[in-house]
């Protein structure tokens, strides 16, 4: 008989990553918390059919789908880039550079941002990301590379030259 998955164990292992991904997609703490809760409620509902293999991929798939649904419902895609620009701190020490990079990340198109988040925060390979997003590997690869290049470009404009050289 297959081992039953312990939800509290799963919560300890994945809640931070689920919450972070959701937050970086919907850009709102309350919504990200709702999504995190919904993801784990969904896991409770299907607990008996959960298998340990591919569990991580599955959890992220639910997270991304729920985040995109939430975005669609709230029509948050129109979050204004100008607002993000205004939030950029004036001084640029290394910590603030990280803040700037994170804010710039939010300016990246959602189609590119999601695979980048899955790649960096989730640590998934292109193949796993293509399974989560149900898109072919080539598209995922090009979206990530385009996103990263845009981010690099914006970062070079925003951040002092010394950062790129250190």
């Amino acid at each position: 008989m297959p081992e039953r998955v312990n939800i509290e164990e799963l919560y300890k292992a994945y809640s931070r990553m689920v919450y972070t991904i959701a937050y970086r997609i919907v850009k709102n703490k309350a919504d990200a918390e709702d999504i995190t809760q919904d993801v784990f409620i969904k896991l409770i509902q299907i607990q008996d059919s959960l298998r340990r293999q591919n569990l991580k991929t599955f959890i992220y798939k639910i997270t991304v789908n729920k985040s995109i649904d939430r975005l669609r419902n709230k029509k948050m895609q129109t979050v204004k880039n100008e607002d993000i620009k205004e939030e950029l701190p004036k001084k640029k020490d290394s910590n603030e550079n990280n803040i700037i990079l994170n804010l710039l990340m939010e300016k990246i198109d959602i189609e590119q941002r999601i695979p980048i988040l899955l790649s960096e925060i989730g640590g998934f390979s292109y193949k796993e990301i293509s399974e989560i997003l149900e898109t072919n590997i080539g598209t995922i690869k090009s979206r990530i590379n385009r996103g990263i290049n845009t981010l690099k470009q914006m970062a070079k404009e925003e951040i002092d030259d010394d950062v790129s050289e250190n």
Partner: protein, 130 residues
Amino acid sequence: MMCQRIKLLLYDYTKGELSKIEIDMVKSHLEKCNACRKEMVFLEKIKSSIRQELLEPSDKILYKIKKINFENRLINLPVFFKPLIAFAVLVIFLVGFIYFGNLIKQGKTDKLDKFYQDIYDISVDFNNLS
């Protein structure tokens, strides 16, 4: 020309998503090219800034998840377990009822005993007076 090509491969290189030949090519180019090395350092910086901070959801979510999980486990108990649990609850209730009933009864008896004792003491005092 070569630098342009290498720059396009850098992210895949950090992900380990290149072929053996491409990995060797990037590696040997990075050893020679200062500009591409800088580009690589910058890319690593960007990657680590994306990864750096995992956010913590509030504790109330864990509390809610635990509650829902517990309720779900109760609902999904095997059929033969439900009468057993009902029986156990009934037994606990009865034992509690008998135990506390006795305590109350005992308390009343103690009070009554004290009342009789007081009357006895008073009557003894009266006898001493006379």
